[in-house]
Amino acid sequence: MSAHPVRVKPLWLAGGVVFVLACSLLALMIGPTGISPWGVLVESFDRLTPGSIDSGLSRTERSIVWNLRLPRVALGLCVGAALATSGATFQGVFRNPLADPYLLGVAAGGGLGATLGFVYGWGDGLGLFDGVQVAAFIGCLVSVALTWTMGALSDRTRSTTSLILAGVAVASFFTAVQTYFQQRDTEDIRQIYNWFLGGLTTSGWDDTLQIVPVLTVCLVVLMLAGRPLDVLSVGDEEAQMLGFKVGQVRVVLVVFGALLTASAVAVSGLIAFVGLIVPHAVRLVFGSSFKVVLPLSMLFGAGFLALCDLAARTVLSPAEVPIGVITAFFGAPFFVFILRTAAHR
């Protein structure tokens, strides 16, 4: 028999890794000061490994690569991987193709947290962490927890529909509170507005290093979740009859998906579209099993966001275009292209 169980092919994974590396390389080379690919490669290799090699770059160029571009590229890769993976997870958990990482009120909760952070000036420091980021992170998690609690009110089994509806209610309420604080104190409105459009402005390595531990744990767990998500695709009742504690499996997946989203939102605000479009593009090209969709979404999401950030900081240079504008502007037509190609196969 020729059929085999679906698995992610090593070649596809290799393709994803090459895409990540290529996008990173471009993002490191291009900017107000152009730097040669060779210089970027050698310098990055030198810094990331013990030992010392001379990349032939000037002091300024070295500093640009190591202190400005590389941390930002790394952050872009992390955020892209997080959003695309949590988007794919939520699409599976809720069996809803329109699900994105901001489902369940996450966007509104994070937005409220960040707004409170700006209005009360928490950004000036809570020790090691940035107060606005912490507030956004907590806001995301509080909103998910609240949605989860309310999801049981109308339906004690927490069907996907009741959770999604609870998410809508929580989002509306948090948005109302957020708007109240924003309008009460209009001097922060510009900062708040920028936060809502998303962005990867960094100062050094701190942001990236702070989210890496959470991200690593969540991504490792969710990379193992392909088969459980495939089982959930036959619906709660049949999955239950196949021996799944559907409620428990769902809570585990939602917790890790929400942690990923919250980490991404904390350091980059709300970046639209990545979590929705990348999993769909992967599905259309490589197939719909979550064993395939999850790892490839992580890789292509990472590279895609690094590339979008490159555009965000170069098209209006020295000014920056919010990255959410770029992800939607390039993402939407690209998605239509993929849809067309898939339909013609």
């Binding site: 028999m1 020729s2 059929a3 085999h4 169980p5 679906v6 193992l224 979740a225 088969r227 459980p228 495939d230 089982v231 695709s233 036959v234 619906g235 009742e237 049949e238 239950q240 009859m241 196949l242 021996g243 799944f244 504690k245 559907v246 499996v249 599905r283 197939g287 719909s288 099993s289």
Partner: protein
């Protein structure tokens, strides 16, 4: 050995009682066919046995109450073919049938080569080889039904619950599927409980028939005992002739007025 013991099971949806005190014993290796008119409670009875609806009363499978069984333990004892299975988009038939191995695997585990062998065998038995690589959502209704049955067979549970397993199948595939299930029953001692609309077919494959109407069992026994013109007239409000040919009971619709109740 008793495979299933159902004691005074009641099921209500809101204020409507769908099953009103069903008691039934099914021995291992039996094929029990539940028949009855639309809305009689046949599917609900299957779901009650499967543990998929809240019941009062008790259902014991292999001696343990379904209320005490964890989903995984239950799935190792009972497989269920729903009347209209949820068909996932873009999943190949092979992977769909492989889902039947879920209760045999840990949450994050991969399928072993043994699981894959079992699935290959089931796919061959149910004549699905040429479809193994196709997406289930591109198949015809009958092909999907066979894939769903294959998934349940791959689950290898001693008790199979089949809700209208042959409703979408052509005559050849009806016989083929029923033969496969009957072989599982006679060779491996699996117990089958199915609901069926085709009374002749129900009488042929089952070792015992139970006629359910308005949530209660109104007749039970062999095909000869249950499939009588009087029973069918009373509970289906149908005009039929019941013929007996070579030991088989054949139910033939006939002309005339619908009998009054």
């Amino acid at each position: 050995m008793t495979a299933v013991e159902i004691n005074d099971v009641h099921v209500s949806f809101g204020s409507v009682e769908v099953l009103s005190g069903i008691s039934l014993q099914v021995e291992a290796g039996e094929w029990l066919s539940i028949i009855g008119p639309n809305g009689a409670g046949k599917s609900t009875l299957l779901r009650a046995i499967a543990g998929a609806v809240d019941i009062s009363g008790s259902v014991l499978i292999g001696g343990s109450s379904t209320a005490d069984l964890k989903p995984k333990e239950r799935a190792l004892r009972v497989s269920w073919v729903p009347q209209s299975p949820v068909i996932p988009a873009g999943m190949a038939v092979f992977d769909y049938v492989l889902l039947g191995r879920t209760p045999h695997l840990g949450l994050f585990a991969h399928e072993s080569s043994r699981d894959i062998e079992i699935v290959e065998q089931v796919i061959a038995d149910l004549d699905l080889e040429s479809l193994a690589g196709r997406s289930v959502d591109t198949l015809s209704g009958g092909e999907q039904q066979r894939a769903a049955i294959a998934r349940a067979v791959a689950q290898q549970a001693p008790l199979m619950l089949l809700d209208e397993p042959t409703s979408a199948l052509d005559l050849g595939h009806q016989q083929e599927v029923l033969d496969v299930l009957d072989r599982l029953r006679t060779e491996h001692g699996q117990t089958m409980i199915s609901t069926m609309h085709d009374l002749t077919l129900a009488g042929q494959c089952a070792t015992r028939l139970v006629l359910v109407d308005r949530g209660t069992i109104v007749a039970s026994g062999s095909a000869v005992d249950v499939l009588t013109e009087a029973n069918i007239a009373a509970h289906y409000r149908a005009r039929v002739q019941v013929l007996h040919r070579d030991g088989a009971v054949v139910v033939v619709p006939s002309a005339g007025n619908v009998p009054a109740l």
